[in-house]
Symmetry: C3
């Protein structure tokens, strides 16, 4: 994890969960758990990040992930600015870095970067000053580390542990940064078996997801699972690659109540959202008693608070 | 009305003024009056909503109503996030509610919803958790309750009372949520006579505005009025429906100084803005001594503070 | 100058540096210097503007100047709202002022206006209530006063003084509000010689930049300079007016290490950004030891804090 940690081993950036040691992951989950609060309870707030400035750099400003990061930062007392920018290293890497350096000179301490092309968050992280942190909020199809953390936290809350569990990820694994970050988190945290379940066209290449069990049949893939993670299907992708329409996809891979019975009776169902109800998941499953989908969202803001508090350690006047 | 109040009779949502009891309206106006401050004075601010999160869901982010709600919330110490979203129940009601549930899981306590199609604010209110409130910031042509309140407050300030007054609303009543909310507020608050004044094509159907006196002639409509509320005319509507151009409309229904003399000498002039000067109102009237138009704006932020403070009662740590 | 100061001589608006007395400029620079902090240090923050509301009115919301003003205001404790609006006096001056009056009635105390057509910030300033201030954040090609201040502050920091220096501004002077504000600031502050260096098509008319020495040759223009201020070249303008392409422009007017040797050995290089590297400036110069470009950005937020604190004097409850 060269590049994500400081010399003393503490977390400086969060670009990927790949290679993060188990203790680091568990420390983040423990800290996030402290920030979780029940629906309807007053969310925790503090001045831990007073004097710290967080810039959200999103190509599309109205996403729920942006709001999740914004609220996490505000509830810790940080100043937050939102910018809609297109970060690309392709034709104009230097001008992209000029934008970053400008914000850095305005005393931005933490950059939250979303939807830049693959490699951009790492390029930014490699160029900012030592006191500045970069958090990926989703990098191409490569990585979505806070999503991986909130998925792990949700499983730990609902099942009491991650070690020893059987987890099935179902859907467009090939193009999914969510699946990749879940793979990194859950593998490190000692999951017993991770299954990836998809039509052949949506499975990743053999050079990825080492140690995972592959299924092209959802019924086999769900059998005995403790956790079922459904992924969003992009309709345009279905038509182009798998030659299926939405109804066909639902018949072949949609999670219904009947299908969910293949999993353990106490299995939980997860989805990173937004959902296509009736395509990858039936509404009664999404809203049913086994669904942990709203827990995931709630844990998302807690995880982002934990990550911000961890990387900005020592940046704030509040704990100086 | 069912659905706007809690079991104990307190206000939970504000979707419409229709059916709100007079005491509830008066309590809101009294509370708003406490938040009013003179131009140039330091606006009141408090920590009453500390720990409360308000989400502004507007289809068009740069509206003055959005800024009014945003400042009202900030001056009460709330965290505010702005989202530009298109809420529609038509093809994707469930996905709309998924967006709401996601924000709710991020501990959004109050949703301010603008310009969704008719029915959407109520649908959201019917589905959120018990501790969550929904405020309409303008719903199709149905309702604009905070506008109705600020109009009532403005009249009460300038005329000392609402009971016994004669109020003329002039313009495109048929398509106006402002007129409907004014009708509900002023009728409940005991106005003596409410007149609706418009070309026939812009008057509402007979099943609405019960008890109002209808005028197709503005001079008759203004005669002896205490309050003249002008409505914005949408130019495209004039051409389509009434076959008048802007200059013709101004000649027939524009409020000029000469025309205003038909009303009482101390009549006040109101307009919800934005104004089309020279179409529905002459500039010298808009800026003249009888104009209460800027009072309306100032009262708008006070009314929104009062509504937020009322519905979020008990949500904040500040008064827990 | 008339119109920028209050009766007691204190600064009320900041629309231009033209005509501002030297003492006023120096007071702003001194105050800004107090807000400067080292890279990585915790930026100063205060409650000096608690209760003050600042509205950023930008035609394009995602600019670095908007973020600079937003952070400056937030770090002083102000409430900030961002609006994306097109202010134009052309066809609809009254409706533009209605927007301003509405925001004023919402208790906006300071308007920060960007990219309105020439004359708009002054028109707004002439119409707002006495307690309201207007700050230009860039007005057509006329004026960019906070940029002029930050340029002056940067020179003073790096060279210890402004008096007696030779400053060369290179590039599209004709269309540059940055050059005009630098001219006003540096002339008032006693610069020894101000040179404007550009191809003839990009030099201003003879009725402007009085007292400046004009150069059509960059090597002559740089000779012995203490400060080199490079301006952004807009590629489309090059093609239209000067019949040069970017590579030709770089050969003729681009600042390279070799060229910089014509200036004094300790000369500093400045650029208002965004830079076109390889067009008006070589990357190794932009990032080299003589570059003060990041200092300019850092000074930008300090200058904006100083200006806000100066004009909002007495508006806040914190010092009432």
């Amino acid at each position: 994890m060269t590049g994500q940690t400081r010399a003393d081993g503490s977390l400086r950036h969060l670009l990927t969960l790949e290679g993060l040691p188990r203790t680091a992951l568990e420390r983040l989950l423990d800290r996030a758990q402290e920030f979780v609060c029940a629906p309807g309870a007053r969310p925790p707030s503090s001045r831990l990040l007073a004097g710290v400035t967080v810039a959200n750099l999103f190509t599309e400003p109205s996403t729920r992930t942006r709001v999740s990061f914004e609220l996490a930062a505000k509830r810790l007392g940080a100043d937050v600015v939102n910018l809609e920018v297109q970060l690309s290293s392709r034709a104009k890497g230097e001008s992209m870095l000029d934008t970053i350096f400008t914000l850095e000179a305005l005393h931005v301490d933490v950059f939250v970067i979303r939807d830049a092309e693959a490699g951009v968050p790492g390029l930014v992280a490699a160029n900012v000053a030592p006191h500045v942190s970069v958090l990926s909020a989703g990098e191409g199809s490569v990585s979505h580390p806070t999503q991986g953390l909130l998925d792990a936290l949700t499983i730990r809350q609902r099942k009491g542990r991650i070690e020893g569990l059987t987890v099935a990820i179902v859907g467009d694994i090939r193009h999914s940064r969510v699946a990749r970050s879940a793979y990194h988190a859950l593998t490190t945290l000692g999951v017993a078996q991770l299954r990836i379940v998809a039509p052949p066209a949506l499975l990743p290449g053999d050079d990825e997801f080492h140690g995972c069990v592959r299924h092209a049949d959802i019924d086999a893939g769900l059998r005995g699972a403790d956790v079922v993670m459904m992924l969003r299907i992009q309709r345009e992708r279905i038509q182009d690659e798998a030659q299926l329409d939405s109804a066909d996809y639902f018949r072949a891979f949609g999670l219904t109540t009947a299908r969910l019975r293949r999993a353990k009776p106490d299995a939980i169902v997860m989805h990173p959202q937004p959902m296509n109800r009736g395509v990858e998941i039936a509404s009664d499953v999404a809203d049913g008693p086994q669904s942990a989908i709203r827990d995931q969202v709630r844990n998302g803001v807690a995880v982002r608070m934990a990550v911000l508090a961890t990387v900005a350690r020592g940046r704030s006047g509040a704990d100086a």
